[in-house]
Amino acid sequence: MQPIAEQAFTQSQSAYVHKVSWEIFVAEWKKQSIERRSRLGAASGFANGKVVATKDVKSLLEAVIRCGDRVCLEGDNQKQADFLAEALASIDKSILHDLHIVQSGVVLQAHIDLFERGVARKLDFSYSGPQSHAIARALEAGKIELGAVHTYIELFARYFIDLTPHVALIAAVAADRNGNIYTGPNTEDTPTIVEATAFKSGIVVAQVNQIVDRLPRVDIPGDWVDFVIEADRPFYVEPLFTRDPGSVTEIQILMAMMALKGIYAPYGVKRLNHGIGFPTAAIELILPTYGETLGLKGKIATHFALNPHPTLIPAIESGWIEQIHSFGGEVGMETYIRERSDIYFTGHDGSLRSNRMLSQAAGLYACDMFIGSTLQIDLDGNSSTFTTGRIAGFGGAPNMGSDVHGRRHPSAPWLKAGRQATDSPSSLTRGRKLVVQVVETFGDKMVPNFVEKLDSLALAEQYKLELAPVMIYGDDVSHIVTEEGIANLLLCRGPVEREQAIRGIAGFTPVGRGRDRKIVEALRARGVIQRPEDLGIDPLSATRQLLAAHSIEDLVAWSGGLYQPPAKYRSW
C-alpha cells in the first residue's frame, strides 16, 4: 500500500501526460477531416449551400481536388459524369497534376485527355471498351502509369481498402438543394463510390441533369453528398446491351441451340448471367421458340443477374423469366421495366433500381452459370479480350466467370458440375459454377479465336505488366461452345485431354487442325466433346426462323410498344 500523497502524485502525472499527448495527437488522428474542412472552406465561395452554378464547375474542382489525389471520376459501364470529366481535363496541369484516377469505365475522350494533358498520371480501372486502343497508345507513350486492370467488384472492393477516393465526381439524373440524389435507372456504381468516399472524409461532387424541389426517390442521401451542380446537358449514357436481332447469324443460332440442349437442359440451369455478345442474344431469342419445343420453359433460365437486355423481351413476355437483378440500366427499356416490376427491381417511384456492386455479388454467389463470349482462347482454356494494341479491360466477366470457393449453398447444377470434375465424388465434394465460353472459331478478318499463346502475354511484356491480363482463367472454364461442338472441360482428366478437347472444337483454325484425331474421337465417345449431331441438332435447322424477333421493331412489338429504342436502332 503506497502513501496517499504518492498515489495522488502518480495519478496527476499520468493525467498530465495524457493531456499533452491528446493535444499533440488530436491533429494527427483527424488529418483527413481537417483536410476535408479546408477543402470545403476553399469551395464555399462557389457554393450556395450545396448547390454550385454550372459556370463555376472548374473553380469548384480546383478548390476541392489537390495534386496527387485519388479521384473517382464516375465512368461506369453505361453512364458517364461527362460534364465533370471535361471540366477536370480542362484544368491546367500547373494547377492540378499527378492525379490517380480510380474508375471502373474509361469510356470518354475526356478520360484519355486527363492523361494526355498531364492532369492525371496513374490509372486503376476495369473496362475501357471504346477507348481500348487509346489506352494502349497512352501507355506506349508513357502518359499512363497503369496500376491494374480489375473486374468491377474487385476495384470496388479496393475503394474500401487501398484505393479509397479523396474525391468522387458522380453523375445522376436529379438532386434537391439538400444534396439528395436521384440516379434514375442507371444507379450502377454510384452508391458504392459515394459510400467509400463520403465515409472516409472525402468529398463528393454530383453532376445532375437538373436540380428539383422534390425527387421521385432518394438513391443517395444528401448527407453523403457535398456539392451538386447542374450540368449543361444530360449525362452521357451508352445503350451497351442492345443487340439487333437482325444481326444474329445462323452460326450464332446453331451455337445457341447447342448451349440450350447441351448445357442449360442437362444441368437444369435456372440462375444465371449472360454476357453481352450476340451468341447469348441468340440464346435469349430462341428461348420462346426452340426452348419451348424442348419443353424447357420453367425448367431453365428463370432467374438472372443481367442488364435489361431488350433481346430478353420475348422470353419475358412468354412467361419464361421470373426475376432479374440488374447491374445498370439500358436506354429505351425504362417504360417497359416500369410496367414489368414483377420481373425487375424497381423503386417506389416505379423506375429501375440497378446496382453494379450488388449484382456482381449476386452473380458471384447466387448464379449457377455464366455464359459469354471472348476474343481469344488458348490451349488451357484461358481466355482474354486483350489483343495486340487493345487494352480492353475486363468488366464483370472475371467475376461472373469465376468459381467462388466461398459458396456453401447447394443447387442441382452446381453439385452436378462439381461431381463431373472428379472421379470419386463424395459428400465432401464441393460444387462448381458452370462457366461457359461461346465463341466462333474465327473472328473478324479470318483471325482465329483459338491460339497457342494469348496475345496478352506479348502485351504484358511490351507494357511491363507483372501479370498477363487473363479475362477468365482456364481452370474456371467448364465448357467451350463453338460451331463445331461443345467441349466439357469438367470431364477432362489431365492436361492432354483438356488440350485435345479444346482442339477438337476449334474448327479449321491452326489449333483445331493440330488435333490428334484419335484422342478427339475417344473424347467424343465419352461425351467430353459433343457435336451438333451428337445432340440431335441438324446444323441446317439453325435458321433465323427460330428467332422470336427478327428486328428491333419486332422487340418493340413484343413489348406492346413499351420498349422505346434509341434512334440509332430505329429503321422505321
Binding site: 445462323e250 452460326i251 466462333e440 472459331t441 446444323p539
Partner: protein, 104 residues
Amino acid sequence: MESFEIRGRAAHPASGQLRQAIIGVNASGNLEVLVERTLPDTECIVGVTTQIDGFRELWQAVIEDFMARASLGGLRFSINDGGAKPDIVTLRLMQSLRRIETGQ
C-alpha cells in the same frame, strides 16, 4: 481476287434429281454457292472465286472435310465468296447440297 478449283473423287453419286440449285448471297462475310449436276458420278469439283486472297490452304481443308463427310458424286459447286469464315462456308455448302438433293 483469287480463283482456284479443288477436285475430289466420290464413292457415290449425290441423291436427288434437280439439275441445279443456288443458295446464299455474295455479300461481305457471306458467300453464294451454285451447285450443278454436270459431272460424272465419281467426280466432284468445288470452284472458288474469293475476294480475299491468301487463304487457299484453309479453303482446301474446309472443302476436303466437306467432301469426306458427304456423297457429292456428279456435283460441281461454284462459290462466289465475299469473305466468309470457314464455318459459314461449310454451312452454305451443306445447304446447297440439301437443296439440290431435296429441293428444300
